[in-house]
Amino acid sequence: MINLKSFMARQDVLALLILAALLFVVMPMSMDIFRLNLIGKYLTYAFVAIGLVLCWGKGGILSLGQGVFFGLGGYCMAMYLKLESSTPEATAIQSTPGIPDFMDWNQITELPWFWEPFNSLTFTLVAILVVPALFAFIIGAAMFKRRVGGVYFAIITQAIAAILTILIIGQQGYTGGVNGITDLRTLKGWDIRSDDAKYVLYFLNGALLLGVLVLCQFVLKSKLGRLLVALRDKEDRVRFSGYDVANFKIFVFCFAAVLSAIGGAMFTLQVGFMSPSFVGIVPSIEMVIFCAVGGRLSIFGAVYGTLLVNWAKTTFSETFPELWLFGLGALFIAVVLVFPNGLSGLYRSYLAPHVDRWIFRKPPEGGSSGADPLDTPAFEPEPAARPAE
């Protein structure tokens, strides 16, 4: 039995409770199902942002290809749903009934082999977790074992995101092309487009998110979490202490990939389609900004950052579409130059001391305000992130 206190301080329990109350009580009470569904969609990005906190904020590995894993998870789910809605009866007007409509449009006459297993829900659910993990493992093992890191890793993951997008768009007959996989209706006969289903999916998504947060908290408070921070700050010293640095990096990269994939699968379920516009370079780097705005060191911050940026995006791009890109660009610059620790950094330095005093009756500590000393960002010169000689 794990002792609760050992991995969740009182502040963290409070943060979790506040988030739970916000997601499960405040939001459903104050919004109609359309807006709630939108929030649900934003929250699926939060899975990616939480993964990035572990990977980038704590581990110092910036991946610009998280959209790849989000997309893999989303496409796995979408393939299953598409097959279910493409029964021979429903697609009787096609020249080949029983295959997804976009395949028929592209003169494909039988289901490709890699679509076959997605007839099974069990396989699909396993694939959502395993496919991205495997893919991340291959990338991670190839790069980290050769001590490629930092900037190079970012550029190569970005290139992979670009490659996958071009591939999906190019192979229209197998992937649905630029439109993606659309017109998803039922899950095991359960209509996912009804309002009831949207409520259920929203709560399922919220519960998964909280579960993931607890899991991440556990990872961060374990020895692994401490090692991650250590190898972000002084990788060589961790290596000299006898740890195999590459394995820890591979693990955290795969973990973040799996989280992204869960987000992607939930996205497909709630929004009802999946397309390459959630895979490529632009969405991947936007997911990094969600994480950066929330605070790259705080998993709770990442959730709030995602909600805030997406809410701003929806509001501004509805009313002033021209201003939004200026705003987003300025946000990128500001979050780097002005407040590198994001919302959670602002909270820690301005609000946390008061909260500690009023709720936990803790005397304010000199400046550090109860923050975990590990959470101070390391903006020392990064060890030259060059490949091994």
Binding site: R146, G150, A159, I163, I169, I289, E322, G329, F379
Partner: protein, 308 residues
């Protein structure tokens, strides 16, 4: 895929695609040279590099319109003024960006990446607001139109030749500037050891700004050359940025020669495959090969032989 063609046909196809590849190669080299200076030498990731290139393209477009309307007599040679103007405009913007943003971030390369991405979004939207979302093209003077017939089936467009000559001239000048001049020596010294360079009396801040501005200026010239073979839109720069970064990394980040070699390899591979496969598959295969090779040989083609 080769079976359907005879040997002579294959020869002509390779020659023609090879030439098309050379034009792509010129664009890649021009973009990658600027980036090789900024990223390879300074270690700064400039995601807005494509937008600096597009700035050069728009400057050329404005010049072309201006000359056509007011001094039509000079229309034949406007391109040379436009290129110089593009160089200085992009360079000036680069110096401004370095002063306001980049110099605070030299120690945080990953953060530079995010900040310059933000800059690229702002520039894109600015172009869209000023020039409109539609692509614009320049009118070429008469002497650049037409083509030279080489054999019966192979023809070479003149503007392509011009762009290639231009690339050669710029590549040679960059080489002299970086490796044979005092400025270049100073900037390489600052890159190798900032503290020691400062100690021997080099004004490192000034050198940083100049180097960054030079890289951006070359991007501006690249944009200027780009207008001759394609039209310019607000987001055209973003299409090339990933390729360009891959080229620089693939070539070995610190090596200008490597940058040129890898531009050549990538552009030729892509252009030759494009004839036999669809354009998107050619690009996927090329990029996948590059990423694959980089995973096996992370230091790129030409690695710097220095101890770190």
């Amino acid at each position: 895929m080769f079976a359907d063609y005879t040997w002579t046909e294959l020869g002509s196809i390779f020659a023609m695609q090879g030439f098309a590849g050379l034009i792509l190669f010129s664009v890649f080299v021009l973009m990658a040279l600027g980036l090789a200076i900024i990223f390879g030498q300074m270690g700064v990731i400039n995601m807005a590099h494509g937008e600096f290139m597009i700035l050069g393209a728009y400057v050329t477009y404005l010049c072309s319109n201006f000359v056509e309307a007011f001094v039509p007599a000079l229309f034949g040679v406007y391109f040379f003024f436009a290129m110089i103007l593009a160089f200085f405009t992009a360079g000036a913007l680069g110096a401004l960006v370095e002063w306001s943003m980049i110099r605070h971030l030299y120690r945080r390369p990953l953060d530079t990446l995010l900040a310059t991405w933000g800059l690229s979004l702002i520039l894109q939207q600015a172009y869209r607001s000023i020039f409109g979302a539609r692509e614009v093209g320049v009118t070429l003077p008469d002497w650049l139109l037409g083509s030279v017939p080489l054999t019966d089936i192979i023809e070479i467009p003149i503007n392509g030749i011009f762009v290639m000559v231009l690339t050669l001239v710029i590549a040679v000048s960059v080489y002299f500037l970086m490796f044979r001049s005092r400025t270049g020596m100073q900037s390489r010294a600052v890159v190798q050891n900032r503290v020691m360079a400062g100690a021997v009396g080099i004004n490192t801040e000034k050198v940083d700004r100049m180097t960054f501005a030079l890289g951006c200026g070359i991007a501006g010239v690249a944009g200027s050359a780009f207008t001759m073979i394609g039209s310019t839109g607000p987001t055209a720069g973003q299409l090339y940025i990933v390729d360009t970064f891959l080229i620089v990394v693939f070539g070995g980040a610190a090596s200008l020669l490597g940058t040129i070699a890898s531009s050549f390899a990538i552009s030729q591979a892509q252009s030759t495959m494009e004839f036999f496969l669809s354009g998107s598959m050619a690009k996927v295969l090329t990029l996948l090969t590059v990423v694959g090779i980089l995973m096996l040989r992370p230091e790129g083609l030409f690695s710097a032989k220095i101890r770190r």
